[in-house]
Amino acid sequence: SQQGEEDPQALSIQEGENATMNCSYKTSINNLQWYRQNSGRGLVHLILIRSNEREKHSGRLRVTLDTSKKSSSLLITASRAADTASYFCATDSGSGYALNFGKGTSLLVTP
């Protein structure tokens, strides 16, 4: 079963614009992670935010977490064509180790 739900399912923007993706989840978590997946490849870890954190930055990435609303957002600033990929949020709720993924947001960045 899929724990998280990303929104939107698909997003198309131009290079230089910002991209925002949202994730909602259902049960309490220890942490929430964002991963990127290029077509035909495995997932690449982007950022991890713990349940007691509200915001985290890594390069052009900014992640927020609102545990009261059970939601998170991923902001990619100044997007590049190379950012084109699917983005997944994942929570470790329940087991504390197995990740529960949503269906992902497909991001297309055009030059």
Binding site: Q33, G40, F101, K103, G104
Partner: protein
């Protein structure tokens, strides 16, 4: 190697055949996970190892699926008597421990004819 390595990258099998998928985790990573990813979906958890111990196999779809990690490093996912619904990408991931980021291989794309 530097990352998680999976082989083969692609596997085509006839319905009813047995298949074995291999995962070489990052050296020293204690935790190893297998996930199944259907087309257009996120990965779904199959099973978890801590060293050689299989601590959770609750995600395995049926008793046709079997995973092992006998020496606490390389892992094999075996599917017996394959069915068409087994067609998917099988991803392996490893990490230093629970609560740490997971590092994924590129997966094995399994097609059952």
């Amino acid at each position: 190697g530097a990352g998680v390595s999976q082989s083969p990258r692609y596997k085509v099998a006839k319905r009813g055949q047995d298949v074995a998928l291999r995962c070489d985790p990052i050296s020293g990573h204690v935790s190893l996970f297998w996930y199944q990813q259907a087309l257009g979906q996120g990965p779904e958890f199959l099973t978890y190892f801590q060293n050689e111990a299989q601590l959770d196999k609750s995600g395995l779809p049926s008793d046709r699926f079997f995973a092992e990690r006998p020496e606490g490093s390389v892992s094999t996912l075996k599917i017996q008597r394959t069915q068409q619904e087994d067609s998917a990408v099988y991803l392996c991931a490893s990490s230093t421990g629970t609560g740490s980021p997971q590092h994924f291989g590129d997966g094995t794309r399994l097609s059952i004819l």
